[in-house]
Amino acid sequence: MKFAAAGFAAAVVVLLGFLLDGYHQGLAVYVAIYFIAILGLDIVTGYTGQISIGHGGFMAIGGYTTAMLSHYEHWNLLLTLPASLAVTFLVGVLVGIPALRLSGVYLALVTFGFAVSIPQLPLKFSKLLGGSNGLHTAHSVTHLWLYVVSWSCAGVALLLAWLLLRGRTGRAFRAVRDSEVAAASSGVALPIYKTLAFGVSGALAGVAGSLLVLATNGFAQPSEFGVLLSLQILIGAAVAGLGSLWGVILGALFVGLLPSVSASFPVIGSAHGQDVVFGLAVIVIMLVLPNGVAGLLRRFEPSFKTAIKRDPNTS
């Protein structure tokens, strides 16, 4: 069933690649970028229970990694993606270390501070990182290239996340989320799994950031990684319903498409009207569906409760 759905989704993505014109391919690229970033956030927040409002910070680091490698070292853009994956994985692990001692609201505050602080660094080290004008990649890419690469990345990311979450690691993550004390007393090594979750999560966000830089004509600028980006990713994850891989695509569609959909209407179509619509939509969705869309679907899934009884680890 799930494989059929995955195959169908992949077919739709490939088909759309042929059908869409440049503008809509560009939109689809943003959906893929949000998809990867929200997937990353979902691993650490939805599955491991560690609230992060700082994923824009990881995206900034990933984006600047790509821009620097291309600008200074003239790397092939495709090769910068694994590099930014590795860098942001390490940063994620580093962020995960203080997260070992923090939880809930405190962790939210720290990650928020991280997201606010990172875009200040290019302003401080403007010789190396280009200041507020940003850093430009040495090459630019076409819409089609970006479409193929970003959705391939999204597919690989989904596959990796699924493989990671279905087995022992995923069970450990969920155990940490449901009760840290219970998880620790069942032999789950909290430090390893929490930092691992942050590492994987940060790495995915980093790749999303690299793709974002490529999607904005190869410019890495502090303004594109502002607070709003972190908030949007968190919103995407919450709208989707935390802890659901399939919900992530809905969250990505919401965050990626709602602004441009509302832009096509009169009055609310102005840049600020889009923010109003976006903010309103988020609030209304949370009021109507506090557990996101996935929570709604879960309510109608009859096998869910029996699944809990059968195996307490796979809730």
Partner: protein, 333 residues
């Protein structure tokens, strides 16, 4: 101030230890003596200290607003800064309609109170059982307010009349701007008024009861939900004060409070996140610290103010998670 924290610093859950420990008092006293000696020794130091206190008072009043809401419901209102920004725009609009600055100031405060209470009743109350849902709603509110304000007033800088004039006092070679002193006075005064409200009025008693033991409070007739709405209203009012006091230095723009929100987070955490007195002291300390470090440490240029505040936040949480005035909490499994 001790009575302040003792009255308000009571914890909802079983707590160990007291809010005010001797080392903390000694530390603050030492810091104060250091500042006084430094100010006597150097004019620049004195000027930076006063300016830092003025900025810190703004951080403190926004931090106080965050703490008010955190104590009552254990959530952080990420839209607190944006609400403050929006109410400052309302005051600006009132001055455009011909009100004097201070009349607009005092008309804005009740408006902010009503708006804050309305937000709690309409948006927060329906989801208050889930902390993550509340956080997301406040994040949505952040974006919504940003959009509405930019839509109505535009994103360009706006200016209000300087509330304290541009007079500069000279005392022994040190220049104090009247504005810094005014900002400091207004922010501290609003915190004191809040304290009086909590200590000496029935509403204040009810709010303390509702925050401390919601179930018991409702049994003796305190309308807990109303008290929460009043709490949000008061927080929004304090936020309005911090927004209006930010305006003379940052001017009006939709992003004016975003950096201050992070400083307020750091100040609140420095004070222990539970303690109103701690929020004010934390704000003042952070303001002075950022100014002095900017003056005397070469690498700490203005771009690094936010990252430095973030490091303060992180270090406090890692080294002393209860902050200066917080209390250790016993966690039950």
């Amino acid at each position: 101030m001790v009575g302040f924290a003792e009255r308000l610093g009571m914890k909802r859950k079983s707590a160990v230890g007291t809010g005010f420990s001797l080392p903390v008092i000694a530390l603050i006293a030492a810091a104060a003596i250091f500042l006084v000696i430094g100010s006597l020794a150097s004019n620049i130091f004195a000027q930076q200290t006063v300016a830092g206190l003025a900025q810190g008072a703004i951080f403190g009043s926004l931090a106080l607003a965050l703490v008010l809401i955190y104590r009552a419901t254990e959530v952080i209102n990420f839209a607190q800064g944006e609400m403050a920004m929006a109410t400052t725009y309302i005051a600006y609009q009132l001055t455009l309609w011909g009100l004097s600055y201070w009349l607009a100031f005092f008309v804005t405060l009740p408006i902010a109170f009503v708006l804050g209470a309305l937000v709690q009743v309409t948006l927060i109350r329906p989801v208050q059982s889930s902390i993550i849902a509340v956080v997301i709603v406040t994040v949505g509110l952040f974006i919504l307010i940003d959009g509405v304000v930019t839509w109505i007033w535009g994103a360009d800088l706006k200016f209000m009349k300087a509330p304290f004039g541009n007079t500069v006092y000279h005392a022994g070679g040190v220049a104090f701007s009247r504005q810094d002193i005014g900002v400091l006075a207004v922010s501290i005064l609003s915190a004191v008024v809040l304290w009086l409200l909590f200590k000496f009025t029935k509403v204040g008693l009810g709010m303390r009861a509702a925050a401390l033991r919601p179930a018991a409070a409702s049994l003796v007739g305190v309308r807990v939900n109303w008290m929460l709405a009043v709490g949000w209203g008061l927080a929004a009012t304090l936020g309005a004060v911090s927004g209006l006091m930010t305006e003379p230095t940052q001017f009006l723009q939709p992003t004016m409070m975003q950096a201050i929100l992070l400083y307020a987070f750091a100040a609140a955490v420095l004070g222990g996140l539970e303690s109103p007195a701690g929020a004010v002291v934390g704000g003042l300390a952070l303001g002075v610290f950022l100014n002095l470090i900017g003056q005397y440490v070469g690498i700490a240029t203005p771009e690094l103010r936010l990252p430095i505040a973030f490091l303060v936040l992180l270090l406090v949480l890692l080294v002393k998670p209860t902050g200066l005035f917080g209390r250790k909490q016993v966690r039950r499994v």
